[in-house]
Subunit: 363 residues, 4 copies
């Protein structure tokens, strides 16, 4: 009901920030698919807090152990379970937070939903740490997709008020690989430098900034997705909003379409290499919820990290009295850059699920 | 898989623009709920093309006939089926479109998905006409919710580049009622006049404009929704992207959060009337996917109507040759204002579904 | 949640026995499939109460009207809605039953679940009448399957204590067609005569009898279905128990397997026509939830019609006092023979759903 | 899609017989529920192969490790993951089976579905070993239910052709506790002795026997379940057929109802302790798919263990040639008695899921 998604490919995430482990069960993976553990680890490492001052000081190795679903390095049809141990929890940092919910966090809502029984240590099940097993699922999906010529990539298109350039009309697998190799995933290095400066400035102010991630997928066939509530946009949205801190999502022109006229926003059809294509891609590769065969383009906004070092106003849940809260512990002044592979992961997992359904439009 | 949504409350939409009828089956409605047909009709009429030059000239009475689910005006637990006949189809207007997909429409993707078997007349199952039965579901949900003190309202916050003011921190049922009574749903009448002028200007240019709808729900308890992919945002998004032409969605500050710092975007907790509240509502009433008890606030962007009178570039599907297309027939120069009750309808239906689950956080 | 089933092919049933109409929405039908209305009507007529004294005297034409999903006699990808009007309701026959629940019927449980708001006329949504739209779904599925060489047939293998012979190891489409053409669907005509005599004897006693239906499907590929809870047995069971009065279900040897030894119940593998087959079919065509390629064989038990003319003991729901109830109106002394096409319908619909998923075991 | 079930309570099973571990993720458990590990272990031990000659010689400790979902011994709302290590695999026993599918097992169907990539060691994901994590889910559900006065118990009602007596009209929690404490779960000790003799006789013949399990649940409220495909029977069936070797399922009189008349099978209503009850319980506590408040009674048949020591006929998958197969390794001459707690587990888990939905019949 909550920590799972997918139709033919089911992904189920478990774990709490300060529990023994986080992990994922992936049910419905096609059999016979080789999983390259080194490539997967490289993908997981993109999400890990780096050694740079841009991220939290929490250190986790983030190496998944596979309990099931693989035989001799290949998927065998059975559900795959991968577990990542938690090793560097500092639960004492969070003692005060049991009674004083952090503004902008899920502490209060979790406490309310579960009548005081929620695991509040480090955000519990709501922690960004849960995106590690999500990336295991997505990393595996990316390997399977790329063997079929479908590639997913993303970059930070805005952070701290600084904007990167957008993806070109036809991003390539090569461009995605270059982005994946960068320590800070932007297209324009100069914009990246300014973003990093903005993040460090916020850190110095004991504050944080948010950002926007632009993600694209190329190589998709036309005709993927279903009408109305079964559209590609619907299915991606249903999962992408599960990434902590995501508060908005748009496809193609997205919100900018409100400022355009139909003549500007419509993408003229044309023939190219014997295929129907569109001259522009304001639709982000989707019309009526169904892929056009053009690149899928989406943007998700990640709000500024709610954990900041400044004193904040809150309440004592026990007494209902006003309280001041100063969050200690280790925090990211920005999580948007670390969320870049997470958005890729979710996009890849949802697309693989859609592809597994095959073209059931006809039989 | 496609034209249905919901968990305990299942809504299934059927019909094509130029078929015999459109309709809805709603399964899981609580029993004993009185449905006021006059109030429902008033709600449906808000979506109908008006007599103003802002909308299409297609005329439909849009009066639903109930085939099941009601006994003596009350829900009886059995699935409710409501049917709305199509009466004013002009299918001949669409003959040419079988071979020449309209830019910005689902014609090409439907044709691809269903290998040429799609009903292409007037957009078929992808037509905005399908939002009529969706509003039947939502109108019924609104009546059930309002009896529990939960109210949903919306307005056009932007159209043709003109912006309305935003909802106040605590919108009221009274404000929603006033908006529902207006022929053009905006808070600031002056902005509304400018929007209408922008729409008519586009019409004169044989063009169209888009807009943004802001929707709010008040009276929700805290603790509604589930973590990760079961969040309120996820479940609303999964359905809202099913409204034709919606290409983006945000909650609370949404995309603006990327420009804010954590200290600006976090909502301080405080006590008010013995309840935990937040001083601001940048979160749009949702933290960690779960309601805070503050108003739920979302915005959805509706792209400019793709059907425009100007000549456009397309291709012959049969021959693969380039073609010019001039769409005749009756079209809306803007559909964003007509989509306002549709966004309310979807929001109400999803919220009722969530509420029916009860607080299963504890048992 | 309740009156729907299916994964990629969603079937949603609506209507009450004495409401305006019953009907079905089928979402996810492959496009381009021709639906032969005459063949469908012949299938529906098998379920209709005949003119024989074996069935209720209620007369319904049971001709479905298609509101959507078809264009020029072919499926078009959009959800198909078919409506069957109720014409011969005698609601006054049921007035007394509002307060006095009929033993063996859902009257009391419906009244409890919906706190007195259930439509109790003629069983409301629990009536056997709801199997008419179910047969529309199944009849369409049968046409689509048979074009792929997959055939579903059934017969009454037991009624009123009399047993028919079982299907041979390899039933044929021809055998199914012969059964479908019979007024009373048994393999052994002599057994059929005895069954009819038993039914008429029960009728004379103002009583009723039950029966067992044996259903088979041939032409299925091996490898259909998923492990554990996604097995073909699970998915058929989840729907077959939704046929009113079905209280048991078994596959292959079923309950008789408890009396067998492993050496008797195991089906030896062998090669035939270049294919792996089994020498016997005690497994009913399913091992580990997945099809073997041998005929699928299941049996469902239909309890004796609970509506009988004899006085029965019940209670006044209003006062909690004991009451005697004599049910008037029109009833079937046996419904098992009329349920034969319904079991076929459900089996066909579930199998089509499974087939639409394709072989997603590998990609 | 396959190894998961549940609506608000989602249970996802992973693992292979000879992989590193088997386990379960349970999502949607109510928070604040104390889990007694000793009681859970006692329940798991009932499923474990005993030291008696009735079971396999494989030895597993079957002690679950909880990776998530608990804090201080109570559920915290987050998904619970429990892992059971595999320690006593003898994979070499199964080498030959890669090419020679065992009759009556899923070897051939798994090999077909996954194009040769299935993990065939010891039945892989189809092994009875997977019922260990299923019992973790069920054991937890049983603890939560029993605190609400709902108790689930089962016994072996038939094995090797010997029959136990049936449950009385109103089984009690005390009776269930007594059964759970017995090394061989039957009501009539003499029948139990005969069953054990029949099992040992089969073992001596290098053969196996099947059995039937009768399971009951008491303390359920009336009104649980939904009409048609959402019935309690449907939901139980959808999961119970996922227990390996289950080939049939019936409720109340089940298949015997085909031999009864309506006047015999109908349960007269009466008042008892101010509640509507039925004088008999041929319906097994369910009418129209919805609970009556009487004990829920079901029976599931478990086929004779397909792994037998006798030579059997099979084929070489690689060459398509006929082959003889003699299964070595350790096997149960009967698994029906070990499946007794598994049927309880599934029943408890499904009932908890149903109860968590609350009575959403009205709002």
């Amino acid at each position: 009901m909550s920590s799972e998604f997918g139709n033919l490919l089911r992904v189920s995430i478990f774990g709490q920030s300060h529990g023994k482990a986080v992990g994922v069960v992936i049910d419905g993976l096609p059999a016979g698919e080789e999983i390259d553990p080194a490539e997967l680890q490289r993908f997981l490492d993109r999400r890990k807090p780096g050694t740079s001052p841009l991220s939290t000081a929490r250190r986790e190795t983030d190496v998944p152990e596979f309990l099931s679903g693989l035989e001799n390095g290949r998927t065998c049809g059975a559900p795959l379970c991968a577990v990542i141990q938690n090793v560097d929890q500092h639960s004492k940092d969070y003692g005060e937070l049991r009674d004083k919910p952090r503004p902008g966090h899920a502490d209060y809502t979790a406490w309310t939903k579960w009548s005081g029984h929620a695991d509040m240590r480090g955000g519990g099940h709501f922690s960004g740490r849960l995106t590690a097993p999500l990336c295991v699922a997505g990393g595996i999906a990316k390997q399977i997709l790329s063997r079929r010529g479908i590639h997913v990539g993303a970059h930070l298109v805005s952070a701290g008020g600084v904007r990167d350039i957008s993806f070109p009309l036809h991003p390539t697998a090569q461009l995605f690989a270059e982005l994946a190799a960068k320590p800070f995933p932007v297209l324009d290095e100069k914009a990246g430098e300014e973003m990093r400066a903005a993040i460090l400035a916020a850190k110095q102010d004991l504050d944080s900034v948010g950002g926007v991630i632009e993600c694209a997928a190329v190589g998709l066939p036309a005709g993927l997705g279903d009408p109305m509530f079964g559209g590609v946009e619907n299915r991606l949205a249903a999962v992408l909003f599960g990434i902590p801190a995501v508060k908005g999502l748009e496809f193609g022109e997205g919100f900018r379409a409100a400022e355009l006229r139909g003549s500007e926003n419509n993408d003229p059809f044309m023939m190219e290499d014997g295929q129907v294509r569109t001259r522009t891609n304001h639709a982000g590769g989707i019309l009526g919820g169904i892929t056009t065969g053009m690149p899928l383009v989406l943007r998700a906004v990640v709000k500024p990290t709610p954990s900041i070092g400044r004193p904040q106003e809150t309440v004592h849940l026990s007494s209902g009295e006003t309280a001041e809260l100063t969050i200690h512990g280790r925090h990211d002044p920005c999580i948007a850059h670390r969320a870049v592979p997470v958005v890729e992961a979710v996009t890849a997992a949802v697309l693989l699920d859609l592809l597994l359904e095959g073209n059931h439009g006809t039989f």
